[in-house]
Symmetry: C2
Subunit: 81 residues, 2 copies
Amino acid sequence: MSDFVARTPKQLGAILRGYRREWNLTQQSVGISCGLPQAAISQIESNPTTTSLSRIYRILSALDLELVIRPRNSGDPKTKW
Amino acid sequence: MSDFVARTPKQLGAILRGYRREWNLTQQSVGISCGLPQAAISQIESNPTTTSLSRIYRILSALDLELVIRPRNSGDPKTKW
DNA sequence: TCGATATATCCGCTAAACAAGATAATCGTC
DNA sequence: GACGATTATCTTGTTTAGCGGATATATCGA
């Protein structure tokens, strides 16, 4: 659990939304804790394609999340080394 | 190995650069394979703070990488569940 | 050290993100 | 259905990323 691959910006937005709801936070409260307006949180959760990295990172820290980069086949048991 | 936490945009850029070099690719070739000018790759590798997610994703796919979101304490052995 | 390759930085222009504020739509609950 | 709370969608003005294209500055090998 608690390890989500975000293969597209939209998936990333959905993941952020999922974590926010898991913590029972509103877009407003998340926005306040990371200095973004509620409208921005809404937009980012639905489609952050054109959003800047800085905004993403602000939300990540507000939700106490981290971002990991790894090769695509990392999760495939057949190609573990 | 091959699992890097990008705690800041700059770290993310450094990780992308590391992977590119591991594959022995130039900024130009990466740029061509993902439709970005070489200058953009350079800028993103050094400090992608203000870069859009779409650009990041384009590079990720060019380098065959994926992005994972997880709680901050995920890597701490003491707090595994 | 020289030459070639690779990387960094600069130009003007356009399109679009961003900020602030307001409002509209939606959801859950009674 | 009505209400409050939450989320989505506008508006206007300002800032800045992104694009193309070119050029400078490393960096590396011979």
